[in-house]
Each structure stands twice: as C-alpha cells, then as structure tokens.
C-alpha cells in the first residue's frame, strides 16, 4: 500500500501521518465502503445549472463514497476537497459525523484521490466547498445513519421506527437493546442506499458538531509534531529530486544550453529539456531545463551551473512602469460598455460637484509558504502523482494528456497544501514532475519550486487601473457614477490575446455593485496580458473593492459627510437585488433567486464592524478610523480599521474589526481563522507586497523584497464578528476569500482619516509622507 511506502524514508523514519493522509482507503475492515457508488448527481444536473450542479461533475451524496465504518467502529470519512488551511478536512468531517451521529473521537479523515466521476467536483477554489457540499454531505451522513438503523431493526426484527441512532450506536427504545456502529457496519453495507425521501436530516437543534466553536482540527497533532505531509514532503524509496531553470520572461524559450558543468556537480544525474508551451499556455509548464539529482541541494547547484541562452520572446518589453501608464491612458478613454443605467452624461453635466480618482493595484504573487512541489512516478503504464494541488481532477487530466496516457492510468494523490490561494489550482508543476519522471524511465522524481521560481514564474494576480468619476448634487449625493476598470484578464491563459475582463471578473465587485445611484455607467477598456494572470484569493474583487470603497470615502469627504453614513446611504435601503438586473449573469455560479444581493445584509456587516471599532469616538492626533464593506462569493464582509501614524509617516494598525455574514456557519472557529488570515493578507498587499516587472522579468525574487506582513507589523488586535446565520435551511456563503477585498480600502480610508493623505496606489509603503 502506497501510504506505507511513501512514509518510509532513507533512515527508516516513518513520516506517514497517523491519519493516513497520503494514499486512499486501505484494504481492511472498511466494510460500509463496499459497493458501487450511485451516480446521484446525474439526475440533479439535468434539472439545475447553478451551485454544485453547475460545476464540472456536479455533486454526490452517496454515503458509500464518503463514509466507511470498520468492524471496530472506526468511522473513516473521505474528504474530497483539498485542505490548504481553510480547515475543510475538519469541517467536512463535522458535517458528516454530525448527521451520522458518530462519536468524534472515533472519526478519522482520509484524503480522496482526484476522481470527480466518483466524488463530484473537487476543484477547491471559489470559496465553494461547504457552500456546495453542505447539503449533499449532510444527506450522505444521514443516509448512512438510516442504513445503520435499518440494519439494527432487521437484526432485532422490529420496526425501523422504533430504533434510533445516537452517539455511535443504535438503540431499540422499547427493549433498551443497543448495537454499536461497528457491529452493524457489515449488515448496513449490504443494504441499498435509502431513497432521498427516506432520509431525514437532523433538526439543527440536535447538532453535535455543526456550529460548535471548540472542535479541534483533525490535523492538529500531525501539524504540531512535524508529521503532516505536504507535497514537498512526499517521499518514495529511490526517488530523485528536480528543479527547473525556466525562461525568465513568459513566452521565452531556450536557444542553447551547455550542461557540462551541471553534470559535474556531485549528485546530479540528468539534465532534461522541457518544451515551451504554445501561447496561450493554460496550465502547461513554461518550459526550460530540468536538473535531476540525488537530492534537492545537488539539483539546485546543478541548475546554477547550467549555461543557458534564452530567447525572451514577445513579452521582453513588459515593464510595470510603462504598463501602468498604458492602463492609465486606457481608463481615460471610453471602453467596452458593461453596465449602463439612466443618462450618465446628462447627470454628470448637471452635477453641482464632480469628483474623479484613479486607483492602481500591482501584480501580486500568492506565494503560499509551501512552494509548488510534486512527486511523480510512472510504472507499468501507470502514473502516480503526490501533489499539493487544489484541483486534482484537472491535474489528472492534464498529466494524462501531456504524458500520453489514458486518464484511468493516472492517479493523483493529494497531500496537505502548505497554502494555496489560487496558485495551486494550476497543475503546471505536477506536469513538470511527470515529464522528469518520464525522462528517467518512470523513476520517481520529486520536483520542487524554490521561492525564486515561485515569484518569477507565477500565475500572478492581475494588475489594475480603476478610474472613477462621480457627479454630486447640491446635497452631496451622487447622481452620476462612472467606473472604468482596465486589467489584463485570466482569459489570456485560455484564448489568444483577449483584451477584456470575463464575466467572472466583471462580476467580482464591479458591475454588481449595488449602489442606489440613478445614473451609472461602467466600462472595461482594453488591457493585454504579458504574464500568466491567474486566480489569487478573491481575484478581481481586490482591485474593484479597493477602488470603489476608497472612492466612496473620497466622495463622503467631498460632501463633508461621515464616510460610514455615506457608504450606507449609497447602498440604500435594505432590499434584495437580482444580480442579473445589474448585468451580472454569473453571480458566483449561484441561482440569483437563492442568492440575490441583499443590501440589508451588507448594511448590517458595515454597522457591526463600525460598532465594533467604536465608530465616531474622538481620535487622538495621528489616529484615524476607516471602513469598507464588500459583497463577494455570496457573502458580506465589512472591515473597520484603526491606524496610528507616527512621525515620519510610519503607521501601525492597533485594531481591526471584521464582520462577516456568510449565512449559516458550520465551523465558526475556521470562519474566524479565515477572517483573521484575510486581514493579515490584506494588510500585506495594502502596505508592502508588489510584484513588478522590468524587461519582462519579475523584479521581486524572494521574501527580502516581496514583503509580507510579519508578526511585528500585523494588526495588533483583530476582532471577528460573525453575524447570526439564521437557520440551516438558508444557503451558505463563501468564507475563504470574501474577507480579503475590504481590508486594503479600509486601511487606506483610515490613513486618510488620520492624516488627510489619500492612498490611490498600492502598496502604501512610504507614501504617507511622500
């Protein structure tokens, strides 16, 4: 069994996790897992096209896919979504164990391989895991519970209505008899999966785990003892180690290579060329020269000894300074119309006051602490990969395609991810490992990206220029609103040279802005991509929210109003808006009837954050409060920030209050953690993080100059307010991403309040005194 083999190491020190993280279900007494899965989503998908049903391969709710019960009573839950710090392995287990009435101490979690026909969609991005799988996984847990009850009733020859599963056992009320889950597992596994109408979900009042604050993470023990296995930690006996020298400019290629010196480095065994992709390159590696060695250090030294001449290709001139000017010129001209209401020109002409501003956000790198890394071997026509991937099915498909194998011959085991943030949705690094293994006749090769690789060859967050113009009436209220957003699109990964934001980008806090303003025009001027632009936690919401929420505060100032009151006034009264009425047909993939934009919820998070921070209290000199609220991933988040600006413009953040309404909450502790993390990440991109390009090359290669927030600069106190989610029949919102967008504008607004200095370009760095 692979989970054993991979845990073995040269020194005989087993590093495999107790919870069997690497590798799928083993053989043994996992009897409930027997039987073929019912393709339950097939019918569902024909009827619906939103939510989970709208995703590739949809959803499953068959208990046999997700739950196995051994004869000793151990419940093994298979987590088919990828763990990257959001706590999904714990939260999914909470959902299933709850409906199953399982005892938490007897639950273990294993990680599913990439296999969407079996598990339903596994692509872990878009803040969707619980939003899409809460209900199906409740049904899976409840279905297994019913099977156990039926097995017990049959054993005792009593009506099933007389038995009840609680706390890992089924009891017969009238006679007081009781059987443990382990004793019933085999018989239960032989029963048909109950029809949906035979499965009653628990009354939320009876939940044991869902909604509880004090559930420990299932991976806590392994993480704190160093036994947790990430992609970079995967090991197989006799494996090789590889790093790749990649073209410094996207679209570049090797013209010549002299590997003689590299091959002289002790431990280096082979130098392999990886062909450059055609552009658009989708998820293919960028090409280059791989050095394969006996250990990572030898591979790295071998790479340094390569003599490569590169041809830089069409992006050799890409420089952030000139590109910013280009974007600026673009937003000063009309662009593609993406939303229009009323008569903007007339309203603007008749306005008592006009305000305009432009906001710039540079490229960013997700830079998860674990850089991309993967282990691949090819044996007997079968390929196995161990990878820290957010998208194991996509990884499997692309690996098969590139290696010339049928998809069934490729298995992708998913390790823990040492952070993902969108970077690890793209399997280029796994393909590289596969090509190296192929070049080594299928021997196992672990390929590691260094931090320099990660920052130089990323799938960067887009760079953006946002221009806003508003016309205010005599009372300072906006009667006209023009917003132009220019940013290279992620679509450039998939199509030749697209110039406009895709619907999913437009729908990330741009065209779906729910402001009560009569005359609105939104435009999207052209912008070409010169690097790989990819998802970064919350994606286009970052520039859109930064611009809009900063601009609202600028208007409030121009109108002489309190920025929080002004923001609430722009949002207008509590109402629900069909996003399609705003031109957003995407709505994060969700049914607009189920998930309308609810301005009442947006108002409430803003009011909650404001109350939390003590909005309106007198501030000493050098201190200020700022606020921002944003709707994304069908959740509502507001952030209120206090800043303290010292002599010389250095500033710190003594306090942040972040309020979130993400609907019903499964795991409040992880919601808190995601909000805390979003505040820290948002602080980093607001204050110091930037990837800039010169001559097509990223100028930041490592954490010495790609500066992230550290413990000494992190906001001193972060208070998370989770709004009551209401009953569990309401649809869930996203959690992993929506905390991020409002952080940067709230900080910029607080700086303005403290100093009168308006930040229109991120990162802030030393702009305060500039």
């Amino acid at each position: 069994m692979i989970s054993r083999e991979i845990g073995r190491d040269a020194g005989g020190l087993a590093n495999v996790s107790r919870r069997g993280l690497v590798g799928g279900l083993g053989a043994g007494a996992l009897v409930l897992a027997l039987g073929l899965p019912r393709r339950s989503a097939a019918q569902g998908q024909a009827e619906k096209k939103f939510g989970a049903a709208g995703m590739p391969n949809g959803w499953r709710d068959d208990p046999r896919i997700f739950i196995a019960i051994a004869e000793d009573g151990t419940v093994t839950i298979t987590c088919h979504r990828q763990e990257m710090g959001q706590g999904v392995r714990t939260s999914i287990a909470m959902v299933i164990a709850d409906e199953l009435e399982a005892d938490w101490d007897r639950v273990r979690v294993v990680q599913a391989d990439g296999d969407e026909p079996r598990y339903g969609n596994q692509d872990t991005d878009g803040s969707r895991s619980l939003r899409h799988f809460f209900v199906p996984l409740r049904r899976a847990g409840a279905g297994a519970r019913v099977m156990l009850e039926q097995a017990a009733a049959a054993r005792w020859g009593v009506p099933v209505a007389e038995v009840r599963a609680t706390a890992h056992a089924v009891t017969h009320g009238p006679s007081g008899r009781s059987l443990g889950y382990g004793e019933l597992a085999r018989a239960a596994s032989e029963l048909p999966v109950p029809q949906p109408d035979a499965v009653r979900l628990k009354d939320p009042g009876q939940f044991r785990y869902i909604g509880r604050e004090d559930v420990g993470l299932v991976d806590n023990q392994d993480i704190t003892t160093g036994r947790a296995i990430y992609g970079i930690d995967a090991r197989i006996d006799g494996m090789y180690y590889a790093v790749v020298a990649r073209p410094p400019v996207y679209g570049g290629r090797v013209t010549s290579v002299d590997e003689a010196e590299a091959l002289k480095v002790p431990g280096v065994v082979r130098v392999v060329r990886i062909d450059p992709p055609s552009i658009p390159s989708e998820f293919q590696p960028v090409g280059g020269i791989a050095v394969i060695a006996r250990n990572t250090w030898a591979a790295m030294r071998g790479r340094e000894a390569l003599k490569i001449t590169w041809e830089d290709g069409p992006n050799a001139d890409y420089s952030s300074d000139t590109y910013r000017q280009k974007l600026q010129a673009a937003v000063r001209q009309p662009g593609k119309l993406v939303r229009s209401e009323g008569d903007l020109d007339r309203a603007m002409a008749g306005a008592a006051k006009r305000v305009e501003a432009e906001y710039y956000i540079p490229h960013l790198a997700q830079s998860p602490m674990e850089p991309p890394a993967a282990l691949v071997r090819i044996q007997g026509g079968r390929c196995e990969a161990w990878a820290c991937t957010q998208a194991p099915q996509v990884t499997r498909a692309r690996l098969a395609q590139r290696l010339g194998l049928p998809e069934e011959a490729v298995t992708v085991h998913v390790t823990l991810l040492g952070g993902g943030f969108g970077r690890k949705s793209k399997p280029d690094f796994v393909i590289e490992a596969g090509l190296c293994s192929q070049a080594m006749d299928g021997a196992p090769v672990k390929l590691t990206w260094t931090r320099e690789d990660d920052l130089s060859h990323g799938y960067y967050s887009t760079v953006s220029m946002e221009r806003l113009e508003a016309g205010l009436d005599g009372n300072g209220r906006p009667v006209a609103w023009l917003h132009r957003s220019a940013a290279p699109t992620i679509a450039a990964l998939f199509a030749p040279d697209p110039k406009h934001e895709m619907p999913i980008e437009l729908g990330m806090g741009f065209i779906n802005t729910p402001f009560a303003i009569p005359n609105i025009r939104m435009e999207n001027p052209e912008a070409a991509a010169h690097v790989r632009v990819g998802w970064y936690r919350s994606v286009s919401n970052i520039p859109h929210a930064f611009a809009i929420q900063s601009f609202v505060a600028e208007l409030a100032h121009a109108a002489g109003r309190d920025p929080k009151d002004y923001l609430l006034e722009l949002i207008g009264p509590a109402r629900t808006i069909d996003p399609t009425d705003l031109g957003d047909a995407w709505n994060h993939g969700e049914d607009p009837k189920l998930y309308p934009i609810d301005t009442g919820r947006l108002r409430r998070v803003i009011e909650t954050a404001a109350t939390g921070i003590g909005w309106g209290r007198p501030m000493p000199r050098g201190r200020g409060l700022g606020i921002a609220g944003h709707y994304s991933f069908v959740s509502y988040v507001a952030v209120a920030v206090e800043v303290e600006v010292g002599e010389g413009g250095a500033f710190s953040v003594p306090r942040v209050d972040i309020a979130v309404d993400c609907g019903p909450v499964v795991n409040p502790d992880r919601v808190r953690a995601q909000m805390e993390g979003a505040v820290v990440m948002g602080h980093g991109l607001a204050t110091s993080a930037e990837i800039s390009f010169k001559d097509g090359r990223a100028e930041q290669q490592n954490f010495d100059v790609y500066e992230l927030t550290r413990i000494a600069t992190t906001p001193r106190e972060i208070r998370v307010h989770i709004l009551p989610g209401g009953d569990y029949d309401r649809p869930l919102g996203g959690v992993g991403e929506p905390g991020l967008p409002p952080v940067a504008p709230a900080i910029a607004n607080a700086i303005f309040a403290a100093t009168g200095k308006r930040i229109r370009r991120l990162p802030i760095r030393d702009q305060i005194n500039a």
Binding site: R8, D9, A10, G11, L13, N15, E83, M84, G85, Q86, G87, G216, L217, D219, N220, I223, T224, T225, G226, A228, I229, Y230, I232, D233, Y241, P266, N295, T296, W297, P368, M369, E370, P371, L416, L417, G418, G419, G420, F421, T448, T450, R451, D669, A673, Q674, E676, G677, A678, V680, M681, N702, F703, D704, L708, T709, R710, I711, A712, T714, I718
Partner: protein, 154 residues
C-alpha cells in the same frame, strides 16, 4: 571522511558534501520533513531548528557547521508531541495550512527556553523572522502567552 551529526539525541554519519545546508540533509537524506523550506535565504523561518539549544535556520547552516553539535528538530522537540507549546497550539487551533507552524513552534520554544516570561515586544522580536502566509500571528501570540501564563516549563 564522514561527518557526525547528533540529531534529536542520535548520532548520524554523513558522507556527502558538508557544504550542503542542514535543511536538505534533514529532509532529503534523513527523511525528517518536519523542518520546512520556505525561502532558502533566511527570510521566513520555516526551517528553524535548535543547535545546542539556540534557534538556527537550517537553510543557512552547512552540515559542516552542525558537526558534533546537538541538533533538535520539531520531531525531537518532545518525544510525545506534548511540549507545552505544541499543546497550546492545538488548544487554540493556531494552524491554518500548518506549513510554517513547525518553524514557529521551534522558534517559540527557543524563546521560552531563554526567556520564560517574554513581554509582547519580546515575542514580536523573537518571532518576526517567521513568516506565516495564512496570517496566524494573532493566535501564535495567544498560544505563546497561554504557555507563559500557565508557567509550564518544557
């Protein structure tokens, strides 16, 4: 000529190039993957170990420098995984992805060894070299302070 390294109390002989950073010796040669790679240039602290009880960055320490000295990695911090910091880390659910946390715990353990009652500023100073991309800093502080306030000694 073999080099001897005393790792978590056990002697290991290494025949390779002693310029190899301890990080890769631990991870690739010995299979002790709890010590992490994050930057390779002394900027992230993911590779923090103890050398003769003091915190050290394994990515910056050639095996030659470690020769003959007592090296402790996360795997050897506590035989049962119950160092007070490890317990506090679990009680407060400090980890998100967890990748940086072994380095954080090793750095914090060295701090408390040297200064059992650190002030907030002492904690920030000591921990500032350890990046956490997931942003767990508030809980890292809280976990260290919980251990300090309980006065539990390793």
């Amino acid at each position: 000529m073999a080099t001897t390294v005393i790792l978590n109390g056990t002697e290991h002989r290494f025949d390779g190039d002693t310029e190899m950073p301890l990080l890769w010796y631990l991870r690739d040669e010995l299979g002790l993957t709890g010590t992490k790679f994050g930057c390779g240039i002394a900027q992230c602290g993911a590779c923090t170990v103890h050398i003769d009880g003091a915190p050290a960055l394994a990515c910056q320490t050639p095996v030659a420098v470690a020769e003959g000295r007592q090296i402790t990695t996360i795997e050897g911090l506590s035989p049962t995984g119950d160092h007070p910091l490890q317990v506090a880390w679990r009680e407060l659910n400090v980890a998100q992805c967890g990748y940086c946390q072994t380095g954080q715990i090793m750095r914090a353990a060295a701090l408390l060894q040297e200064n059992p009652r650190p002030s907030d500023a002492d904690i920030d100073d000591a921990m500032n070299g350890n990046l956490c991309r997931c942003g767990t800093y508030p809980r890292i502080r809280a976990a260290i302070k919980q251990v300090v306030s309980k006065g539990s000694r390793p």
